[in-house]
Symmetry: C2
Subunit: 520 residues, 2 copies
C-alpha cells in the first residue's frame, strides 16, 4: 500500500508538492522503555495523523537512513510532544539508529499476508516450509505487532508443531539472520537449557576444549531477567562485543572465543519471539528446540552438547521429560546438519559462590587459576561437560574425557588458553571489586536448610547487577552449613551507597532468602 | 503477593515508615492514547521502581479512590516525567476516575491463576464453567495484559470452543457485568452481524415495535472503526447516555428506547476481548456467538432477531455459513433462556444515502416522516425486519408482519412513537448540518459500476465523522447511475475548512471510491 499524497490546506503547516516530503516529521527521543516493542508517538493534532487516517494502535512504517521498521502508534494529546514531532520508544530509536532532530518518513505498511498462515495454524493445519519462511521473514523484519506475535506463539504452543514443522521453523529462523561459516572440520558448541544461577561453565569449558585442539567459537547472551548472563560475566574480563570478522580472527588464532551473540544477529527472529514467550509462559517444545538449534546452526556449529539440568524447580522436571526433549533436539539437529548430544545434570542447587558479573567472573578465574577458594561444584560441572565434549569431538577416547579435561585444567593449559582468548578479544582485565560491601548476618544459631534462588536474584539486581558489573551477592554459606547468630550468610556488593541500602533493606525484610532453621 | 516495605536510604526522597505510605506517587495525566490498554509510566529513577523490582512490561496493580486496575509498566528516562510522578495512559486514567495531582498506590498484582486454564485450552483440553468463569472474571477486572488476552483469543479461535464451552463462555460474560431485568412479558431485541454502512434500521424498527405494544429496550454501540455507530447517529436526535434507572423509566413510559450500551456495563469482558480480536482478525464462531448473545442476555432480552447480511464482501459469505452460524446462535440462546431467530438479508450494497451521524439521522428521519427523499432501501430493510419481530413476538399473525409494520410507518404511528421515545430520553432535536460542504464531481461521462465502502468510510472519517456529528458523505449516485462529467458523485460535509480540505484531497486522489466506467 502506498502512502497517499499530502493535504494542501489552511491548517497544514505548509503546502508541499512532492509525496516524499509529505509524511515527514522531526524526530524526538522520548526515552520510553516499552520493552522491545517499537512504539511511535504522534500528536492528535499532527496533520499526518489526520491525512493518513492513523489511529491509536495503527501500525505505521517508519523509514530513516535506509532502515525501515513498523511501529505501533500511540496518539498523544498531552503537551510533551508537539504536532510536528514524532516521538519514538527506545526500541524504535535503536532499530532506526536515530539521532535527535532527524526527519523520519511515515507510511502505511504493506498488508501482512503471512498472518493467513498463522490463522491456518490456529485452524489446526500443518504449515509447510514456505509458509513458515514467510511468517519468520515478517517476524524478523519487525512487521508483527506484539499481539500478532502472541497469536503465533500461542498457535504453535501445546505441541501443535510436529517434527517437520519444528525442522522447518528452525531452518526459517537460521535463514533470516547472519550465518557463520568455519570451513572444514568440527565446530563444537554447547548450550544449557534453563540455566542455573552462577552456572558459568562456558568460560571454563571453552579454553579446555580449545587447548585440546578442537574449535569452539561460543556466542553467549546477556542477562534478560537474571543478575548476569555469560556475556556480562565474560565482559568483566575481556571485550565481548565483536563483529563477525573479529570473531573469526580470534578463533583462527586461539581455537575458541566467548563473545556476545547479540552483536552478530544470529537467528534474530528468536530474540523477537522470546520477548512475548516469556510473559505468556506457554510451554512449546517445538519453539524451544527451534530457538536453541537455530542459534547453534547460525553460529556454524557441527557438534552441540546440551547441558540439561533436571530438578523439581528446574525447567526440565523429570528424566523422562529430559529424554523426550533430548530426542527431539537430536532429530532436529540432524536435519540441520548438526550432531546433538544431551547430558542430564543436577538441576537442584545454584552453582559457585558469586551472583553478579564480576563475582561470577571471580569464581571462574579461581577455577582456572586453581586457587584453593575455587568453588568445587563449578569446577566439577565444567570438567564433566568438557569431558563429554572432548569425547563427542573425538579428542578423547570414550570414557577418558573427564580425566583429560581435568589434566588440562590442572596443569595450567586451560588458564593459558583462556588468557590467549582474552588477549585476542582485546585484552584480559581483572574484574572490578565493589567499593560498598555489607554482610547480611544470621539472626540466630541454626542450619541453612533452604536457599531461594529467585529472591537472591532479586536482591542482586537491587544491588545493581548486571548494569553495575561489580554488584551482586557473595554467598558465605551453602545448603547444610551450620551458622551462629551474627555470622554472615551472604555479602552484598554495590557500586553506590544507595543501591547497597536498597538491597540491604529488601534482604533484611526477606529473611527466607537464606532460611536458617533454629536449633531446638 | 504483598508489596514489600519501603527502602530508607540516602537517595530515597524521605524516610517513610508505614507500608501503606510507601508505594505512593503523585498522578500525572500524560494524555497518551494506547487504545484501551492501561499503561503506567514511571521514571527510571523512581525509588519504587527500584525497591519493588518493577521493570518495563511489569504488571503493576494501581489503587485510587476505591478503584483497582492492573497496568503495564513503561519505564521513562526522558525528562517529561519526574521521579516522584506516576504517568497514566488515557485508558488507565478513565478506569481509575483519576484527577491530576492525586496520590496513587502501587502494588505487585496477585498471580494470575486463571492463566493455567488458558494453557489447558492451548493444550486442547475442554474448559468447564468454573474455569471459564475464572478467566472471564480476571479479563473483566482488567487483570489480563493485551498479550495474555491475545493468547486466550487465539486459543479459543479456529472452532476450538465446542457448544458447551460456548454456552459457558456466554454465561460467564453475562455474569461479570450488570444485568437488566424487565419483569414479566416479552422483551424484544435485534442485532446485525457484521453491519453494513448506513444500515440504521434500529431507529426505525424500535418505534414500530413499541407502537405495536411490544417492549424493545435497545442498547447500541458507538463507532469503533466506522464513521458512525447507531448510538452516535441517535445522539444527534436525543441523549443516549442514560443510566439503568433512566433507561427503565423511558421503557416503562414508551415501550422502547435507543441508548448507548457503553454506559450500562453489559458484558464488559466482551468490550475487552474485542480490542484484541479486531487487530488479530481471527475468526472465532464461539466468541462471536458469546459476544452477541452475552450483550443481549445482559440487556434482559427474551426474543432476539439476528439480521445476518450475506454477501461476498460481508462478514458472512454464503447461505450455508449463515445457516451454521444461525443454528449455533439459536442453540446458545436457548441455553441462556432466549429465543433467537436469524434472518438472512442482502449484504451486497450499502444502505441509505448518508454516511456519518447527522447524515444517517437525516435518512432515518426522512423514512419516519415519510418524506419523498427517504431512501427506499433503508425503509424496506427496516420494515422487513420489523415485520419479522412482530411475528416473532406474537404481535402479528404469521405472514402479516410486513404489512402491519408498513401500516404503522405509513399512518404516522412510528414517527409519533419515535418522538415519544426521544422526548423520554431527554428531548428530540434536529441533527446538525455541516457549514462546509463540497461536491466531488464525475471526471467523465459514464456509469457508476462500483462503490468502495471502505474508501468512503475513510473519506467520511477524514471529514471528521463521528466526532464531528455533522461530518460525513452524502451520496448523490448509486450503483448503475448514469452520470455526466462534472455531475456530483457525492458531497463532503465537514465542520471545519481544514477537515473539508483533507477529505477533498483524499477523495480526489482516490477516484475509485466511486468508479465511473467511461462510455466507449
Amino acid at each position: 500500500m502506498q502512502a497517499t499524497p499530502p493535504p494542501a490546506t489552511a491548517t497544514a503547516p505548509s503546502t508541499v508538492t512532492a509525496p516524499s516530503a509529505a509524511n515527514r516529521l522531526r524526530l524526538r527521543r522520548l526515552g520510553i522503555d516499552t520493552y522491545q516493542e517499537p512504539v511511535l508517538y504522534m500528536h492528535r493534532d499532527c496533520p499526518i495523523c489526520h491525512s493518513e487516517g492513523f489511529e491509536a494502535r495503527s501500525r505505521v512504517e517508519l523509514r530513516l537512513n535506509g532502515y525501515t521498521i513498523v511501529a505501533t502508534l500511540n496518539v498523544v494529546s498531552g503537551d510533551f510532544l508537539s504536532a510536528d514531532e514524532a516521538g519514538l520508544s527506545e526500541a524504535a530509536w535503536r532499530l532506526l539508529h536515530a539521532r535527535p532532530g532527524e526527519e523520519i518518513t511515515l507510511h502505511h505498511p504493506a498488508p501482512l499476508e503471512s498472518l493467513s498462515h498463522v490463522r491456518a495454524k490456529v485452524y489446526g493445519r500443518r504449515l509447510g516450509q514456505a509458509a513458515i519462511d514467510a511468517v519468520i521473514a515478517d517476524v524478523a523484519a519487525g512487521r508483527y505487532s506484539d499481539l500478532q506475535l502472541a497469536a503465533f506463539v500461542t498457535a504453535c504452543a501445546g505441541d501443535h508443531l510436529d517434527m517437520d514443522e519444528t525442522i522447518a521453523l528452525t531452518r526459517a529462523m537460521v535463514n533470516v539472520g547472519e550465518r557463520m561459516h568455519w570451513g572444514e572440520g568440527l565446530v563444537m558448541d554447547k548450550h544449557c537449557v534453563g540455566g542455573l544461577p552462577g552456572n558459568r561453565t562456558t568460560m571454563i569449558i571453552v579454553p579446555i576444549i580449545a587447548a585440546c585442539g578442537l574449535r569452539m567459537p561460543k556466542t553467549s547472551s546477556r542477562a534478560i531477567t537474571s543478575p548476569a548472563g555469560t556475556a556480562d560475566t565474560m565482559e568483566t574480563l575481556a571485550p565481548v562485543d565483536l563483529d563477525v570478522t573479529q570473531i573469526r580472527r580470534v578463533v583462527d588464532r586461539t581455537g575458541g572465543c566467548i563473545v556476545w551473540g547479540g552483536a552478530v544477529r544470529l537467528s534474530p527472529a528468536d530474540d523477537i519471539l522470546i520477548r512475548v514467550e516469556r510473559p505468556l509462559d506457554l510451554d512449546s517444545q517445538g519453539q524451544l528446540v527451534a530457538s536453541v538449534l537455530s542459534k547453534k546452526a547460525a553460529a556454524g556449529a557441527t557438534h552441540v552438547l546440551i547441558d540439561m539440568p533436571v530438578g523439581l524447580t528446574a525447567k526440565v522436571r523429570s528424566a523422562h521429560a529430559a529424554k523426550l526433549l533430548g530426542q527431539q533436539l537430536e532429530q532436529v539437529g540432524r536435519a540441520l546438519g548438526m550432531q546433538v548430544r544431551v547430558v542430564q545434570t543436577d538441576g537442584v542447587a545454584p552453582v559457585g559462590r558469586g551472583i553478579g558479573p564480576a563475582l561470577e567472573a571471580r569464581d571462574v578465574l579461581a577455577v582456572l587459576r586453581r586457587e584453593t577458594r575455587a568453588p568445587a561444584d563449578l569446577a566439577l560441572r565444567a570438567l564433566q561437560l568438557a569431558g563429554q565434549i572432548l569425547e563427542f569431538g573425538g579428542a578423547a577416547p570414550a570414557g577418558s574425557g573427564l580425566a583429560q579435561a581435568t589434566a588440562v585444567l590442572a596443569d595450567g593449559r586451560a588458564w593459558q588458553k583462556f588468557q590467549e582468548i582474552c588477549e585476542a578479544q582485546g585484552g584480559l582485565r581483572e574484574p572490578p571489586v565493589a567499593t560498598h560491601q555489607q554482610a547480611v548476618p544470621a539472626r540466630h544459631n541454626g542450619t541453612v536448610i533452604a536457599i531461594d534462588n529467585r529472591r537472591l536474584a532479586r536482591i542482586a539486581k537491587l544491588a545493581g547487577a548486571p548494569s553495575a558489573a561489580c554488584a551482586g551477592i557473595d554467598m558465605n554459606v551453602q545448603l547444610g552449613t551450620v551458622v551462629e547468630r551474627g555470622q554472615p550468610l551472604f555479602t552484598l556488593h554495590a557500586a553506590t551507597p544507595g543501591e547497597l541500602a536498597y538491597a540491604l533493606e529488601y534482604a533484611t525484610s526477606q529473611a527466607e532468602a537464606v532460611h536458617v532453621m533454629e536449633e531446638a
